[in-house]
């Protein structure tokens, strides 16, 4: 089990907060505190970053964090890589889990085993730790887990007497019924520019794109469970039962226009939904993600961690800041109270904090964190991201828009990605064992 009961936890959080403050005083000697002052630059694109930096500055007079907003997506990772190369890297930067192994392998981030390793070991369950502990070293501190959920328009489902699906078979029926009820509406989306959801669904189905054995990688992007997922979604897209759309403006426009009435997403989508489409307040609800056999199973779609890039000027204060924004109840509260973030803390002890801070009136008072918590518990163990995810993701994204018109199959896309990934890994000199 990932965590004890929520009731037991609610009480212990306050105690923990006190404990953390108390430890803060005794842990660090005079010399250590001297290092943990000064200026820290902080790069992030996740929602609520400006508020969390401001809240940290208010409570830590010795450290001045300067927040710089950066674009999300591949452009950001290029920017961060270049900044490290040029020696102008920030002290703290956000890196999503899929990109972390590549940053670590490129030698672009500091090994945090000594400074923050014990914290990670102490506070995070295996499901989160396995994403930041790579090759026996700790490279980042997890902020949020992004367990899968299903977002749906309660009003639409009630009006047309459509049941909320709990299995993928039922999900297919649901998409058919949605289209029948309203020819302009769809019950899902296959993103054309974002491989993250596809990999999360493969993970949920029991796929395992990457694994390590001794000193070698095993790459199986097109394994059985992943192909099953690809065939399922490829068919939905070809039959026009789900829309094939870009994940930013085109997707949100379709939600706005009532053309997307259900979509698979993760915990953070609750915040994104209410921030992006405020006028559909009260119409949406969150449900557990459907599964293949009806038993709970989940995976992460997104989720971010914080790293100290190589060449950071002030890694002492940077570590202090990372610790606060990932594991301190006050830090967690600062993320969520902005109202745009519904992050699910990777540290399960902090769930009550975020739950209390997140306003749920958009969802008619629904306990969205309970759905998230159940999903976090059900995340399949053992998933790993690969060391050349930039290449893997690009290979998928380059083909995704062609799935809907039938010019490629989605499982064919996975095979292309498999080949591109293996070729790039060989080029870099990485050990690959035969699948």
């Amino acid at each position: 089990m990932l965590r004890r009961t929520t009731a037991a936890l609610a009480g212990s959080v306050t105690a923990l907060a006190l404990l953390a403050t108390a430890c803060g005083g005794t842990d660090q000697g005079a010399s250590a505190t001297a290092e943990k002052t000064g200026k820290v630059t902080f790069w992030s694109f996740v929602k609520g970053s400006d508020q969390v930096a401001a809240a940290f500055n208010r409570s830590h007079p010795g450290i001045e964090v300067t927040f710089e907003t950066v674009p999300s997506g591949q452009e950001y990772y290029s920017k961060l890589t270049n900044a490290v190369k040029a020696g102008t890297a920030p002290d703290v930067a956000v890196v999503e889990y899929p990109q972390l192994p590549e940053f670590a392998a490129q030698g672009k981030i500091e090994d945090l085993s000594g400074s923050l390793g014990p914290l990670v070991k102490d506070r995070f369950p295996e499901a989160a730790r396995q994403l930041v502990d790579l090759g026996g070293k700790t490279w980042a501190v997890p902020r949020d887990a992004a367990p899968l959920t299903l977002m749906y328009r309660k009003d639409f489902f009630t009006q047309h007497k459509i049941d909320v699906p709990t299995t993928w078979d039922a999900y297919r029926n649901m998409t058919e019924r949605v289209k029948k009820a309203d020819p302009a509406a769809r019950g899902g989306v296959l993103y054309t520019d974002n491989p993250g959801l596809l990999s999360a669904l493969a993970w949920q189905a029991g796929g395992q794109w990457f694994s390590t054995e001794k000193d070698a990688w095993k790459v199986t992007v097109d394994d059985g469970p992943s192909k099953k997922v690809a065939e399922f979604w490829g068919e939905l897209a070809r039959k026009d039962l789900v829309r094939s759309l870009g994940s930013l403006d085109p997707f949100w426009t379709s939600v706005q226009k009532g053309q997307t009435v259900a979509y698979v997403c993760a915990s953070w989508c609750a915040g994104a939904q209410q921030a992006t489409v405020p006028d559909q307040k009260g119409k949406w609800a969150v449900a557990p993600v459907p599964t293949w056999d009806g038993k709970p199973a989940s995976a992460m779609y997104g989720g971010s961690s914080f790293v100290i890039p190589k060449g950071a000027d002030n890694s002492g204060a940077a570590a202090e800041f990372i610790k606060w924004i990932t594991t301190d109840p006050e830090g967690m509260k600062a993320w969520v109270s902005s109202g745009t973030s519904s992050l699910f803390p990777a540290d399960p002890q902090l769930v009550p904090v975020t739950k209390a801070a997140f306003p749920t009136d958009y969802f008619g008072g629904q306990d969205v964190y309970a759905v998230g918590a159940a999903s976090y518990d059900a995340i399949r163990q053992g998933w790993q991201w690969g060391p050349v995810m930039g290449t893997t993701n690009t290979a998928i994204v380059d083909q995704l828009p062609k799935v809907a018109d039938g010019s490629v199959t989605l499982s064919g896309v996975l095979s292309t990605a498999q080949q591109a990934t293996v070729a790039q890994m060989k080029q870099r000199g990485l050990q690959i064992s035969a699948p």
Partner: protein, 298 residues
């Protein structure tokens, strides 16, 4: 023996030329040499890859890898298809517009000159963003309009992207080249035009047989610049790629370089591919210059 004045002259010349050579060395030669240096190395790691990386000398293998990569070679085919559409339409259109403006038919000459030139004043990136908005299904009023007329077209598909990219470039550059051609037409001696009129040539005949041959150098120069610009095609397809990745991340050679460097962190390959593009552009512009010069000889 050089006279003092000649020596002084030489010194002045060197002084006046030095800013140019200084800048040329700093912003053209130095990056070229750096790229050449980078292109000889590759980054290697071992095992799981978490033990750090090292730069090793790779000789010319990055060049071999670029040349043997189908994605890189296909980029040049895309450029060829793009040029085949873009250059005739854009240069032809600019020429026709310039001739119309120059003919006696045109009314409100300076208004049209300004109006046609205006798109060029919009920065390329902004222009591409505006066009991509018009190309994106669900956002574009144009697509909605076409759909209500029963026509469904995907401007962002891999088959149509060449047209979509060429369309943006035509919109942007036609007015610019028209202004150049129009200026060249102003320099056509009036005696030649008068002589044509006396000989009984009409407006069309004058345009085709007198005006066009006389502004041939201007047209040749415009073609040369357009060809070199086309090889570096990047902004428009990159913005199209961001809207729909159907065209692929290595659609044009410059996109291939960007993907190699910033998606795959393969700077050696990116440097080698950029130098190959530069070499190709140099050879092609040499060929275009030779071809147009030979053509202008009687």
């Amino acid at each position: 023996m050089a006279s003092p004045s000649a020596r002084g002259q030489r010194r002045t010349a060197a002084l006046l030329l030095s800013p140019f050579f200084g800048l040329f060395a700093a912003v053209t030669l130095a990056p070229l040499l750096y790229a050449a240096w980078l292109s000889l190395f590759t980054t290697r790691t071992s095992g799981l890859g978490f033990g750090g990386t090292e730069n090793i000398f790779a000789g010319l293998s990055n060049y071999a890898r670029a040349l043997s990569d189908e994605a890189f070679r296909d980029g040049f085919l895309v450029i060829a298809a793009y040029c085949a559409i873009y250059i005739p339409v854009m240069i032809g259109g600019a020429l026709v517009l310039a001739l119309l403006l120059d003919s006696g038919l045109a009314k409100a000459r300076s208004f049209f000159q300004l109006a046609l030139f205006l798109p060029h004043a919009v920065p390329g990136l902004i222009a591409a963003l505006i066009w991509v908005y018009l190309y994106t299904p669900g956002l574009s009023p144009v697509i909605d309009l076409l759909r209500s007329g029963g026509i469904s077209v995907n401007f962002l598909s891999v088959d149509n992207a060449v047209f979509s990219a060429a369309n943006i470039a035509v919109w942007e550059w036609m007015g610019y080249n028209m202004v150049i051609f129009y200026a060249a037409l102003q320099a056509v001696p009036r005696e030649a035009l008068d002589a044509a009129k006396v000989d009984g040539a009409g407006a069309v005949r004058t345009a085709l047989s007198i005006k066009v041959p006389m502004i041939r150098p201007a047209v040749a120069l415009a073609v040369l610049f357009t060809v070199i610009g086309s090889i570096q095609l990047f902004t428009e397809p990159k913005v199209i790629y961001n809207a729909s990745s159907a065209i692929g991340s290595s659609w044009t050679p410059n996109m291939y370089v960007q993907t190699a460097a910033f998606q795959n962190n393969d700077f050696g390959l990116a440097a080698a591919a950029s130098l190959l593009i530069a070499l190709f552009a140099a050879v092609l512009s040499f060929a275009v210059t030779r071809f147009s010069r030979r053509g202008s000889k009687p």
